[in-house]
């Protein structure tokens, strides 16, 4: 009896294991987003916020809603927008202290301890993929009532405890503690990848619209996808060479 085809998530996890056996420089992480499958549920946005403990005002992967055409011939499109991890990134060369750079795996990192918070990289990014952390927490405005469980204290603790971006601990202690005051962006969840887990947005996508893997592996799902003729990249004319592909 023929073997049932594997779910794409299972395939991608297998792809990931193969990629992790290679030297970092031999992997080419890419993301493919199938716009025909995205239903605009924003689950990936929320998964990303939870994974990276993003505070108010910081977003790595918003889903843009775009309308095409004029009534009655209108269509609606949902465009998730992570950092494009450009191969020719305009954001890195403007950084005065090389706090943001392309790492060995080709992902654009931000070193929070080095970043001076000048936001030159935010200005330079043509995709609006970086946001500044101004030091908010989601539940800080909630009242704390005696005897009532409103959860602010616990939630504050949770929101201020460390996240693990870039494999390091960053508790939000005060307005001087990074990542508060820094430019922040999607990093393809490399801290998960190194543990053999797919990015949070990819595992959460209910439409299996987000695909992730090593484009240097000819057998990977993403390699198959980026060969298709209906693949595009955003603002390709700028020469940024994005690593995020869209199927349209």
């Amino acid at each position: 009896m023929a073997e049932a085809p594997k779910d794409v998530l299972v395939r991608m996890r297998d792809d990931l294991q193969r990629a992790l056996e290679k030297a970092p420089g031999d992997r080419r992480w890419v993301m493919v987003i199938d716009l025909r499958k995205c239903v605009g549920c924003h689950a990936c946005t929320i998964a990303c916020v939870a994974e990276n403990k993003l505070p108010p005002g910081v977003v790595y992967r918003p889903v843009l809603e775009q309308e095409r055409g004029t009534y009655p011939n209108v269509s609606r499109m949902f465009v998730p927008r992570p950092c494009m991890q450009c191969d020719n990134p305009p954001c890195t060369q403007v950084c005065p202290v090389t706090a943001t750079y392309k790492n060995a795996e080709g992902v654009v990192d931000v070193n929070y301890e080095d970043c001076i918070g000048c936001r030159a990289c935010i200005v330079a990014c043509p995709y609006g993929a970086r946001t500044s952390d101004f030091g908010y927490t989601y539940l800080e405005e909630l009242p704390v009532l005696d005897g009532a469980i409103v959860g602010r204290v616990t939630s504050e603790e949770y929101e201020r405890s460390a996240n693990y971006e870039y494999g390091k601990e960053y508790p939000r202690l005060n307005h001087r503690a990074s990542p508060i005051g820094n430019a922040r962006k999607c990093h393809f969840c490399l801290h998960r990848i190194h543990e053999g887990e797919l990015p949070a947005c990819t595992t959460t996508c209910i439409g299996r619209a987000t695909l992730y893997g090593d484009a240097n592996d000819p057998d990977s799902v993403v390699s198959e996808m980026i060969k298709l003729p209906n693949v595009i990249r955003l603002k390709e004319e700028l020469g940024t060479e994005p690593r995020v592909y869209y199927l349209v």
Binding site: G57, V97, G181
Partner: protein, 398 residues
């Protein structure tokens, strides 16, 4: 009469009425700025109006403006000492002193804008010289050193004698740096292909003109209100010419603006035409028409062409102040509007949160800090100039 216990440079009674008013204005501005400075330093950046979409705001504008005054003033001083241009005789030391106090003001303003200002040292320790920002930080630091040396040499220089070899060499270095640095701040914006409105080639070339014009306008204030002359005719003569240069440069600004905006308009690219619409007819219209064009150019032109007003020191200084304000707003109209355009269609509506807006107005905190910086610069300029006897000395010009 009872002798004041203050040294002369600090003695309020020994000041002219222009100096007193300026001193009081400086003190008030500085006091109003204390709340902002405290909040920014000890609470953080939360109460600012800029954010992740309109990334740079009033503080960056003030940095461009004050740095422009510093480099423009240096150019003016170089014209006096290096080329002996009679038109600018007598303003050299005031111009150098102005450069020396406005540059730290510029750096303070941009420092406030940094999420981690305490890490500025990293720009010296681990600079990335492909970044215009790193180039500017290093350039302006060197420029400050050059300005200090130039001022020191200007003090050593005997009145009426031409600049010697070493002084000339320093002035040349300073002059070239002034031109490159003033253009460099334009390039800081212009290199961003992500902001088409800034990518019009004319952007960075207008900055040295803006800088020189700012230096000239500031000198109008200094000559009109503060500088002492043996012969009042000399003041009148200087004011007349400085006024014409300032107005000529303002008209040049209008010409460049016309070229810049019409070219952009004609291209019809959304990233270019949207900011132009905002500037001319949108939320920034009054900055442009009322302050930049009317108050910054047309009113000064009218004053200068009205002999009764043009020969009045108060009005001459006010003309300088108006032109200067016009050039400050010109910088604002370059910085904010380019960022009020969506990077991608639908981005501002995709996620809501603080500082995720493409509308920008400076907040109370930003105004307060700006007032504090301007107040500090004013006080430092005035009292320092009095301490160094820059205003009191009769001009060297015969």
């Amino acid at each position: 009469m009872k002798k004041s216990s203050f040294p002369k440079w600090l003695d309020f009674n020994a000041m002219s009425s222009f100096e007193r008013v300026t001193l009081l204005a400086g003190i008030v501005a500085f006091l109003l700025g204390l709340w902002g400075l405290y909040t920014r330093l000890f609470v953080g950046e939360r109460e600012v109006g800029y954010g992740s979409y309109v990334v740079w705001g009033l503080w960056v504008t003030m940095y461009l403006f004050l740095a422009g005054i510093a480099t423009g003033s240096y150019i003016l001083a170089a014209f006096e000492y290096l080329f002996n241009i009679p038109l600018f005789k007598g303003v050299g030391k005031s111009a150098l002193w102005a450069g020396l106090v406005t540059m730290p003001g510029a750096l303070a303003s941009i420092g406030m804008d940094l999420g981690h200002m305490e890490r500025i040292i990293k720009v010296y320790l681990q600079p990335n010289f492909s970044s215009l920002l790193a180039q500017m930080v290093w350039g302006y630091t060197l420029f400050l050193v050059i300005t200090v040396i130039t001022l020191w040499m200007a003090f050593k220089q005997k009145a009426g004698t031409p600049a010697d070899g070493a002084f000339k060499a320093v002035l040349w270095i300073g002059l070239v740096m002034s031109i490159f640095l003033s253009g460099g701040v334009g390039a800081l914006l212009g290199v961003n292909a992500s902001r088409p409105y800034w990518s019009i080639g004319l952007l960075s070339v207008q900055f040295p003109i803006y800088a020189f014009a700012s230096g000239v306008s500031l000198m109008m204030i200094v000559v009109g209100w503060f500088l002492g002359f043996k012969d009042e005719k000399q003041r009148e003569h200087l004011l007349r010419w400085l006024g014409w240069v300032a107005i000529g440069l303002s008209l040049a600004k209008i010409y460049i603006l016309w070229a810049y905006l019409s070219q952009g308009w004609y291209s019809n690219l959304p990233g270019v035409i949207d900011p132009i619409r905002e500037i001319m007819f949108g939320k920034y219209w009054w900055y442009f028409w009322v302050i930049q064009i009317a108050l910054g150019t047309l009113v000064p032109l009218f004053i200068h062409m009205t002999p009764k007003l043009a020969h009045n020191n108060l009005w001459a200084g006010l003309t300088g102040l108006m032109v200067l304000t016009g050039f400050a707003v010109a910088r604002a109209n370059i910085v904010f509007p380019a960022m009020t355009v969506e990077a991608l269609d639908g981005l501002p509506e995709a996620f809501f949160g603080p500082h995720l807006s493409i509308t920008y107005y400076p907040t109370l905190l930003e105004w307060s800090v700006t007032l504090g910086v301007l107040g500090g610069v004013t006080l430092f300029f005035l009292l320092g100039a009095r301490y160094l006897s820059i205003f009191n000395k009769p001009s060297e010009v015969k």
